[in-house]
Amino acid sequence: MSKKILQTPISDRDLEGLSVGDVFYLNGYLITGRDDVHQRVIKQDLELPVDLRGGAIFHAGPIMREREDTPGRYEVISIGPTTSMRMEKYEKEFIEKTGVKLMIGKGGMGPKTTEGCVEGPAVHAVFPGGCAVLAARCVEEIEDVKWLDLGMPEAMWVMRVKEFGPLIVSIDSKGDNLFERNKKLFAEKKLPIVEEINRHVDYLHGPKT
């Protein structure tokens, strides 16, 4: 099967073809945005310095290095995804306000973001956690940086990417949520396992023989 590739700007129609568990790659622009960016855009209601309509954001705090030959220009060293769940508090409003179509991170997001993905519409996808050099290799160029006063991990890095992935759809625009489904499964499997362990750990009355 050939690689499924999405190109920015992303249309609502592009999203219709994506369901949880699908694997795809991204071409075009990818902009980092995590805790502080969400805080500024939603809580402080600041104007976004980058147009995200039809765009993709990456929940990520990279290691960047300023180029010695051209100050003000940066190269990416390592850039893996951060825990998306931290953005759950504001992501729904963020989708509404910015028109972003794709959020990439690691781990799942919750019910509010799922609502946001249906209404947007938008999609959340995961990049394999910790694979920061692999991700850096998919970055063609760092074109710009905004809000660098937030520090290296929290700034908005505007990147041009090629075949950025693998990306696995975790929340689709129909409202299906892969990680919430998994969590239910784990919670069910946990009960009999804990019960079985706890038949053997009544150490308060001394070790059993």
Binding site: S78, I79, G107, G130, P153, N182, V194, V201
Partner: protein
């Protein structure tokens, strides 16, 4: 050797050690990940493990940090009372962090509390975090560097249980957290559990548990048995790499304990992600050294 020259030499050595540990996973972690990879069969698990190992190889080849989150730096030192630079140790470790941050480079991860400013150099108030134990009559420094990433620090939790909740309460506490917060923390995780009489002791011991080599067991046979039971139980849930389900869940479960108060049963939980950057080095009085966590490595 002049003391200041040798201090600078220690700074340089610890900086190289720190940089190395950001870019290369320790032997025990690599071996465990290879074993776990072989046990997985699903497409998702294959995609994630393929990415992980490609990433590990690329980090090695390109000399770059394995994960972009190089953590808030923590040092755990066992220092001989006759180690010649004992009086300069804290200062040397701070200077080493500054140097490694520039050289590696490492991500800037020290945000001052209240001022909410990133210091931009990984040094901040009480950071790097340094814990020291003394070794009597020795001139050796055994130093562990741990890169406490945000993602795998997030599941951290400690609580004081009433003793009658028993060890059953501890088991529930661990399973509840690992099957919820643990999913997003880059599994397969290393799970560290501390059991003690008060909350800060349990929390500290849970972190110390993460510093032990994979495959080591609690010194107490009952503790070792509990480690095995929790480990097998968590693996039975099949969290899989990246939390996307699979045959296994964790790299290991380690428990460390301190005698408790009769009226309290405190439990702490720390987790390490699959990219568990925890390295040990032994530095002698003459500053010759060997890496304990990465056999035969040149730094």
């Amino acid at each position: 050797m002049h003391m200041m020259d040798s201090k600078q030499q220690l700074v340089d050595l610890v900086a190289r050690f720190t940089e190395y540990s950001a870019k290369h996973l320790p032997d025990d972690i690599l071996n465990r990940l290879r074993e776990l990879r072989a046990m997985e069969t699903t497409d998702f698990a294959r995609i994630i493990y393929d990415a992980m190992f490609e990433n590990i190889d690329m980090a090695h080849e390109l000399s770059r940090p394995v994960c972009q989150d190089t953590g808030v730096l923590q040092f755990f030192a066992r220092v001989g009372t006759r180690f010649p630079l004992i009086d300069h140790l804290d200062e040397a470790l701070r200077d080493a962090v500054l140097l490694a941050t520039r050289r590696a480079p490492l991500r800037h991860n020290a945000v001052e509390v209240f001022d909410e400013k990133n210091t931009g150099n990984n040094v901040g108030y009480r950071i790097p975090w340094i814990e020291t134990e003394l070794i009597p009559d020795s001139d050796v420094l055994e130093l562990c560097v741990y890169m406490a990433g945000g993602g795998c620090s997030l599941p951290g939790i400690a609580e004081v249980l009433m003793p009658l909740e028993g060890y059953e309460g501890i088991v529930r506490f661990v399973f509840d957290r690992i099957t919820t917060y643990g999913i997003n923390a880059c599994p397969p995780l290393l799970v560290g559990i501390g059991i003690a009489g008060s909350v800060e002791v349990a929390a500290k011991l849970s972190k110390k548990a993460l510093l032990r080599p994979i495959g080591s067991r609690n010194e107490n046979p009952i503790g070792a048995d509990l480690e095995k039971r929790i480990e097998e139980g968590l693996n039975g849930i099949g969290i899989g790499p990246g939390g996307l389900t699979g045959s296994m869940s964790v790299m290991g479960v380690h428990i460390e304990q301190a005698a408790r108060h009769p009226a309290t049963l405190a439990v702490g939980l720390s987790t390490g992600c699959w990219a568990h950057r925890r390295a040990w080095i032994r530095i002698h009085g003459d500053l010759s050294y060997e890496l304990l966590s990465h056999k035969g490595a040149e730094i």
